[in-house]
């Protein structure tokens, strides 16, 4: 009789055990982000334009950027000394992609189309209220560097030129 009861419960017990042991479900709607690998080129192009200590190199800014000439990440590092560290690129990257993640994901999903949907681009171009005014001009090297990064085809040459000509155009 007891064996019969167990046998009759088996169809109900087994699925319950299976559910308990299943791995956690992963979200399927992951937001897309631009390349972390090529971000240092973009970060270098924007450093003097955006990441100085009197602009986004301030901890109180929404867009917080780090760099060798601006705000440093490690307590022992000083602006104007050494190179931008990978941890600083990483922190700046997180700051950039964390501003408007859903809009950024949309721009990335559409191959970088209409990047002006991002405050980052509008403010950098001076098309939206921005204390620092226009720091890039549509079509210039810095703009091509940033927008090509958003279209997953970073124009490294434009980024290098933009980094070399910062603040001297």
């Amino acid at each position: 009789m007891r064996r019969m009861l167990l046998r009759s419960l088996f169809p109900f017990v087994w699925p319950a055990l299976a559910v308990a042991c299943a791995s956690e479900a992963e979200p399927t709607d992951v937001l897309l982000v631009p390349s972390r690998v090529t971000y240092p080129s973009v970060g270098d192009a924007l450093e003097y334009r955006c990441a100085t200590l009197d602009c986004h190199g301030k901890p109180e800014r929404n867009l917080r950027l780090y760099g060798s000439s601006g705000m440093r990440l490690e307590a022992g590092d000083v602006p104007g000394h050494g190179e931008t560290t990978d941890a600083e690129y990483e922190a700046s990257y997180r700051s950039v992609i964390g501003l408007e993640p859903e809009v950024l994901g949309l721009v990335i999903a559409e191959g970088g189309r209409a990047p002006e949907r991002l405050s980052l681009v509008r403010k950098a171009r001076g098309e939206e209220a921005h204390k620092g005014g226009a720091q890039i001009v549509p079509g210039d090297d810095a703009d091509r560097c940033l927008t090509s990064w958003l279209s997953a085809a970073t124009d490294e040459a434009a980024c290098v030129r933009a980094a070399e000509n910062q603040g001297s155009e």
Partner: protein
């Protein structure tokens, strides 16, 4: 009843009192962020101002340093430091359009600021006395062993 700016009031309070040995004027408060007060309401408006020290680790001010400012329009302006090492620019003389490049020189010694100034007129807002992750330290002229003629009383 007038409006007040509690942020500015707090920032001014943080600067501390005037030195009793130095009257309020061009020689006062060297090394402090001038534009915290010099906004045209609290005190005479200035567009750019700061203090030049002899060395990074020295509080000794350097007079007669030429301060070269070039703004985004290519407009150049030159001013010089006084005996407190202070320099200041009035908006009527020069109101920079940022970014602005800065260089300082005296007696053949020259320093050029690596990054541009993007909007802050007070040197000491970023160049606080102690270097750290958020400050390059004092603005200084000499990075090599040298002695400058002392021209102030």
């Amino acid at each position: 009843m007038g409006c007040t700016n509690p942020l500015q009031e707090g920032a001014i309070a943080e600067l501390g009192p005037e030195s009793p040995a130095i009257p309020v004027g061009p020689l006062h408060r060297p090394g402090q962020p001038c534009l915290v007060c010099h906004d045209g309401a609290e005190a005479t408006e200035l567009s750019v101002a700061g203090t030049i020290h002899e060395r990074a680790d020295s509080t000794k001010p350097v007079p007669d340093v030429l301060v070269h400012l070039v703004d985004a329009r290519g407009t150049a302006y030159v001013t010089a430091t006084n005996c407190a090492g202070n320099f200041f620019v009035r908006p009527g003389d020069f109101s920079p359009q940022y970014p602005m490049r800065v260089a300082i020189e005296r007696d053949g010694f020259r320093q050029e600021m690596e990054s541009p100034v993007n909007g802050e007129g007070s040197c000491a807002a970023c160049h606080t006395s102690e270097p750290g992750p958020r400050s390059a330290g004092r603005v200084f002229l000499l990075s090599v062993a040298a002695t400058l003629e002392d021209r102030c009383p």
